[in-house]
Amino acid sequence: MLLTFLVATALAVVRLRSLFAVVMLSGIYSLVTAGIFIALDAVDVAFTEAAVGAGIATMLMLGTLRLTGHRQVAPRHSPLLPLLVVTITGGVLLWGTRDMPRFGDPAAPVHHHVAPRYIEDSPTEVGVPNMVTSVLASYRGFDTLGETVVVFTAGVGVLALLGIGGRRRRDEGAEDTDDDGGTRPG
């Protein structure tokens, strides 16, 4: 059912021309994905998806729309070539999954490497009820820390760039631009 919603949302995103509606629908898409992640018991991933996909990404897209415009121009070239490329890529990807073990197959190699240790020992070793959480936050803690550092650095870089641009615009005496949204008092 949720997957049906996902497909319907994706089709609507492709079909619509109003970019504002597309941003709204991508927010819905993220929420549906988060629901699917919760159904798959990956609570942290769902959390990140909801916060980043439905929260931050929607904000960034809307900020971009404010700077550019919210109406998509009709494409000048035929959509056939991109469609062909996408179809071929999808076909190759599907063909590539034929070698993979079936979903949920207990004999798959991924279930014999470190997963038994996670499953059997994580309640005593880490003490977190959710297994995905313990893997993300403890067993792969350094990975998560590295990701956080990367995201933080990117955020600092973007803030530095936006800050310089905002100051210059203010020096020119233009009208109140309020690019960084939310810092406006009141």
Binding site: F20, M24, L25, A34, T58, M59, L62, R66
Partner: protein, 93 residues
Amino acid sequence: MFAAAAICILVVMALALARAFLGPTVCDRILAVNMFGTKTVLLIAVYGFLTGRPDFLDIAITYALINFIGVIAVLKFVEGIADSEQQPRPDEF
């Protein structure tokens, strides 16, 4: 009982989704997204009880917070877009 509730919530989600697809004005779509977020919160809560893990309630609460803040931010931005144009035309988004 919980299963029936979950099915009802899924139906409501489908209706909200239809409004988000069709909705001619920007307000329709924002309301649909808000509605969809609320239904996601409810679905997570009901799903938690359905699978016997009421811990999911905490997650549902956080989702509600994200949803609330997100909708307010979206409305702020829409206000900004409408202000930046000379005459606000909310039915043209």
